[in-house]
């Protein structure tokens, strides 16, 4: 029935277009709201520059830590059937459903000087609250699940039989992982890492509770908005948006053909 299928196609397209417009509209409005001069001025603002550098540094550090601990875990979750696997999988995804200020408060209680863990770490010279490690901890908490699930899916996409073939061709388990699984899952793991990194860059809710100063970019923007109003916050917001868009393009390029 061509008429009905045409109608249904138009309805589907219209519904989809509304949502796309709703997402693209505000971002475009923001992009063109700031004048080039104000952007230039914002880029010369050392406080903004410092906050962006701090954001990139802490987000990168959080991603590295997440990768170091998360990639082996992702491999285990993808390949091994161990008791409690589902539980571990559920726990690792917990931060996704926890509201971020709640995460911030939980981290504050766990890593603050008055907790045993936080106290012990502070004794070793590692201070979290109102210090840079606090930013990294908050970012790690919210972004690690993204990295782990991305890497897990990437490993799951590699046929485990390929490793077995590599073993019969003389590779050890580690050799097979390094020469077969990792090259095949690599792009997926990297895409997951970049997604986790951009999640860290955009984090606000938990950082604001744990470490307001020194300011990461999202807090800097919030601070400008509350202290000086909309006009003052826009240029910084635009710059952060451009960083996010770049990341999105990179991920799209990295994603394997068939999954695009």
């Amino acid at each position: 029935m061509p008429v009905r299928s045409l109608v249904s196609r138009v309805v589907l397209a219209a519904l989809g277009a509304c949502l796309v417009l709703f997402i693209v509209g505000p971002l475009l409005r923001l992009l063109f709201f700031a004048s080039p001069e104000s952007l230039g001025a914002a880029l010369r603002d050392t406080e903004l520059r410092d906050s962006i550098v701090l954001t990139v540094f802490t987000a990168s550090l959080a991603t590295l830590i997440a990768a170091l601990f998360g990639v082996p875990l992702a491999y285990l979750l993808a390949r091994r059937n161990f008791p409690g696997r589902r539980l571990v999988q559920g726990l690792i995804e917990l931060p996704v459903v926890v509201p971020h200020p709640v995460a911030g408060i939980a981290l504050l209680l766990f890593l603050g000087r008055r907790s045993e863990v936080g106290g012990a770490l502070a004794h070793l010279g590692l201070e979290f609250v109102s210090h840079v490690p606090g930013i990294v901890a908050a970012m790690l908490f919210v972004s690690a699940p993204i990295l782990v699930s991305g890497a897990r899916e990437a490993f799951r996409g590699v046929d485990p039989q390929l490793e077995r073939v590599a073993r019969t061709l003389g590779d050890t388990g580690w050799g097979a992982f390094r020469r077969v699984t990792l090259p095949l899952a690599g792009r997926g793991v990297l895409a997951g890492s970049i997604l986790a990194w951009s999640r860290s860059v955009s984090e606000f809710g938990s950082i604001v509770i744990l470490t307001y100063n020194p300011k990461v970019a999202s807090i800097y923007i919030f601070d400008r908005f509350t202290a000086y109003g909309l006009q003052a916050a826009v240029p910084a917001a635009v710059i952060l948006l451009l960083v996010a868009l770049t990341v999105l393009v990179v991920i799209r390029v990295l994603q394997p053909e068939e999954r695009r």
Partner: protein, 356 residues
């Protein structure tokens, strides 16, 4: 040489048990069995991918039971090829060269790759990516990859199941030639008895995780030891029934008896009484248009149901109160002008009935 002693492997709730088998050096053995009989599990156990609950695995008199796959010196070809998708054909074939312990090959890997590419007629594909190769091409590459490190043992898991019949014929012939040329002890898994008849020196029929029968393909085909094996290898007509003794007999050994299976009553030579299966090979059934008993003790009236022509041989599906299949030369089918619905006389000797 591969020797398996009382292997017991458990995968989930499935058990592979009491597997004892020896493939002589340079031999070609086939494990046949229906889907779910444990064939692939058995190969994985030989390769060292599956953990054994019990039993021992020997290769060339060395025990390898506790060695990891990479130290067993074998090649493994899977049904789905499993080529490395991130490598070119050349790099796939060269993957294992000079890598395996105890097979350190100082010769130029390029020469070995070229030699195999030549043997398997895939020279033109060497610089291609794996993606886009046809099933037959992929299987040749997978074979070349497995053979490249010069393994002394080759394991094949239904290597021809996923290629078209014409390619399968060619690959089978090439594989047999390769086997003779390289002198590799080969263990292949298949669900196709025809393949076993064509390729193997030795077959083992696997049923529900146990070896039901093993021997030369001819032996297993001619003298199946159970109704399951007879049905699976397609020996012919398998009829469940009961044997009763008709002569007093002389104590030990065989005696003459009557086999009753449904409406079918047959004169047989039996070795035991009671419930049993009668196996009648299609080529042992004689058809005629006029009644002539000859020396055959069993004869009955039947009707042709349909004809199934397989080249020079035609299978005649008959109804004699139960279905029966006879195999005749296509020429005699034409001479007798057999066609569906035609009444025929059906006869076979008592000694042509195998009781299992």
């Amino acid at each position: 040489m591969i020797r398996l002693e009382n292997l017991h492997v458990r995968v989930g709730t499935f058990d592979l048990r009491d597997i004892t088998l020896e493939v002589p050096k340079g031999g070609y053995a086939l494990i046949i069995g229906p889907t779910g009989s444990g064939k692939t599990t058995l190969l994985e156990a030989v390769a060292g991918h599956a953990r054994l609950k019990a039993g021992r695995v020997f290769m060339h008199d060395d025990e390898v039971t506790n060695l990891p796959p990479e130290q067993r010196g074998l090649g493994f070809v899977y049904q789905q090829y499993h080529l490395f998708p991130h490598l070119s054909v050349r790099d796939n074939i060269g993957y294992g060269i000079g890598r395996a312990r105890g097979r350190r090959d100082r010769s130029d890997p390029g020469a070995r790759i070229a030699e195999l590419a030549d043997m398997l007629a895939i020279g033109a594909l060497l610089d291609r990516q794996v993606r886009g190769l046809s099933g037959g091409e992929q299987q040749r590459v997978a074979l070349a990859r497995a053979l490249a490190p010069r393994p002394s043992i080759l394991l094949l898991d239904e290597p021809f199941a996923a290629v078209d019949p014409a390619t399968r014929q060619v690959l089978r012939r090439e594989l047999r030639e390769l086997h003779e040329r390289e002198g590799i002890t080969t263990l292949q898994v298949t669900h196709d008895f025809d393949e076993a008849l064509r390729l193997g020196d030795l077959v083992a029929v696997l049923a529900e995780g146990r070896i039901a029968q093993s021997g030369t393909p001819e032996e297993v085909f001619r003298y199946p030891n159970s109704a399951f094996v007879a049905r699976f290898v397609g020996t012919g007509n398998v009829i469940a029934g009961v044997v009763e003794r008709t002569d007093p007999g002389n104590g030990a050994g065989s005696f003459r008896g009557t086999f009753r299976g449904g409406s079918l009553v047959l004169d047989v030579v039996a070795e035991r009484e009671g419930p049993i299966h009668a196996v009648i090979r299609p080529e042992d059934i004689v058809l005629s248009l006029t009644h002539h008993p000859g020396s055959a003790r069993n004869h009955m009236d039947g009707k042709v149901v349909r004809l199934e022509r397989i080249g020079p041989v035609t299978l005649v599906h008959l109804e004699v109160g139960r279905p029966l299949i006879a195999s005749l030369t296509t020429q005699s089918v034409e001479e007798m002008e057999l066609k569906a619905g035609k009444p025929v006389m059906v006869a076979f000797k008592a000694t042509a009935i195998l009781l299992v």
